[in-house]
Amino acid sequence: MKQIKRVFTYLFLSVAALVSIFPFIWMLISMTNKSVDVTSGRLIPGTHFIENLNKLLDQTQIGIALWNSFLIAVITTVLTLLIGSLAGYGFEIYRSKGKDILFNILILSMMIPFAAIMIPLYRLFGQISADAPLIGLDTLAAAFLPTIITAFFIFFFRQNTKMFAKELVEAGRIDGLGEWGIFFRIYMPTMKTTYAAAAIIAFMNSWNNYLWPLVVLQSPEKQTIPLLISNLGAGYTPDYGVIMTAIVIATLPTALVFFLMQRHFVAGMMGSVKG
């Protein structure tokens, strides 16, 4: 009886694992095959990878899209971490009744669905377009500005600051460090793991963001990777081998981050719940 249960457990988990991995295997195989072979369901690696890659580089602006996505993701990550950790630290270390109330109000914004504020945001950026063309519609800045300040990261850093030894702040003051000095020279280096986890979430969110860039970025040379893939996928005569190559390239950064930093990755996801 126990043995049968065991076998069943392994069988069940194996099927689940196979279903989970299969689309990845399929996209890796299809990346090396011609479009017709992909549609005919070929599951053996082919020899057309270089051809697909060349077509992708020639026929689409994937280079520009990669650069845009990368630029947006890096700037977003740096600013998100800086602003979020300043606030998380500020709310926890300089606690006061007023700030606690304010914190709870800010946290409420986590409940606001993006779709509910998308149109006013679009109009806001439309209005400033004339006066500030650098951050108006169809600029990379417009694509990341509304995403860098989120209650989630303030909450995340505050939760983690609770585990930060507050004596270090006092010790810093006694050593004559200013309040900013304590933050930048003591807090930041001590909280490296927290920053790493937050960086992974912020980078992934930005890299994969679709709806807002779709709304604000119009010209082809402003495209990000998700927009490019979405456009390729919606084409009437899709070249499947080429699309699969693009998808693999788009998935690579996040998959790499996951495999290289698995522990931080999971810690980052959990961070929002503990405490």
Partner: protein, 302 residues
């Protein structure tokens, strides 16, 4: 005596004041940012929802837009679809994730790391990328149909994307594939903190594995189940990327979601920002109501 205490008092007061004032500097950017990018648009959306007109020529029409909602078949379809996804997909996914996490929490299980990584892997893909892949997998001549035909489970290819019912199923399968592993990780880490002696004690009392699951595991994981179901509910109510890239809301409006309808109203059809804002308030109201219900149902203990 007073001469010595006075400067000290002054200094502590000055220090306190400085500490307080600096504290505000740490948080000011976030307060301004969230006010500008969340609360201000919320208010704007409310004002917009009371206006109507094409493009930028808007005028106040009172509650007309809200009345229009009830007579708008596309909105009603989008709302029904979204709620349908929610009612079917979220429970299925949470139960699956719970089963995986309980099975993987067994210390005697082999290849645990492999199973865990494999099942979590879908969570690292971008929504657009996996949506495009699922569109092809579930195409008429896609691999899913190939597989079903080869196994003799169906006699002719199923119209996964062009049949109104099957298209919804495809969307549900896709979201479940993407998010089950993600939720599983939360349950697994919660299970690791569970006191093993509880299971041993219940075993001595003659509890079966299924009884243990319902009477120990579920109650212990209640807070985290609540958390994940709220997160999933909010996510599903905003469903956009997958539907846009797998079916574009079709066939007809069979897979249309509220978010997609808002997008279409604003950027695909002749823009009607006022009515789109009205529809977007429906999502907000649903998020608030459903979160409240979930707290009520699951959070009564605290």
């Amino acid at each position: 005596m007073s001469q010595t205490s006075n400067p000290t008092q002054q200094r502590t007061f000055a220090q306190k004041f400085r500490k307080n004032y600096i504290g505000w500097l740490f948080i000011i950017l976030s307060v301004l940012g969230i006010s500008l990018f969340y609360f201000y648009p919320m208010v704007q959306a409310l004002l917009l929802s009371l206006q109507s007109g094409m493009g930028s020529t808007l005028e106040y029409v009172g509650l007309d837009n809200y009345v229009r909602l009830f007579n708008d078949p596309t909105f009603i379809t989008a709302l029904t679809n979204t709620i349908l996804y929610l009612l079917i997909q979220v429970p299925v996914m949470i139960v699956l994730a719970l089963i995986f996490s309980v099975l993987l929490n067994d210390p005697t299980l082999k290849f645990k790391g492999f199973f865990r990584t494999a099942i979590f892997l879908p969570a690292v893909t971008s929504l657009v990328a996996y949506a495009v892949i699922f569109k092809y997998l579930f195409g008429n001549d896609g691999l899913v149909n190939d597989f079903l035909l080869n196994m003799n489970l169906v006699s002719e290819p199923l119209n996964w994307l062009s049949d109104p019912f099957l298209a919804k199923i495809t969307i549900i399968i896709a979201i479940t594939w993407r998010w089950t592993g993600y939720n599983m990780i939360f349950y697994l880490s919660a299970l690791q903190n569970v006191d093993k002696s509880m299971y041993e004690a219940s075993k001595i009392d003659g509890a079966s594995a299924i009884q243990q699951f319902f009477f120990i595991t579920i109650p212990l994981l209640k807070p985290i189940i609540l958390f994940t179901s709220i997160v999933s509910t909010i996510g599903t109510l905003q469903l956009f990327d997958e539907v846009m890239n797998i079916t574009s809301g079709g066939p007809g409006n069979a897979t249309m979601t509220i978010s997609m309808y808002i997008y279409n109203l604003s950027f695909e059809y002749t823009p009607d920002f006022g009515y789109a804002a009205t529809v977007s308030y429906v999502i907000l109201i649903l998020v608030v109501i459903l979160s409240f219900i979930q707290f009520r149902v699951a959070g009564d203990r605290d």
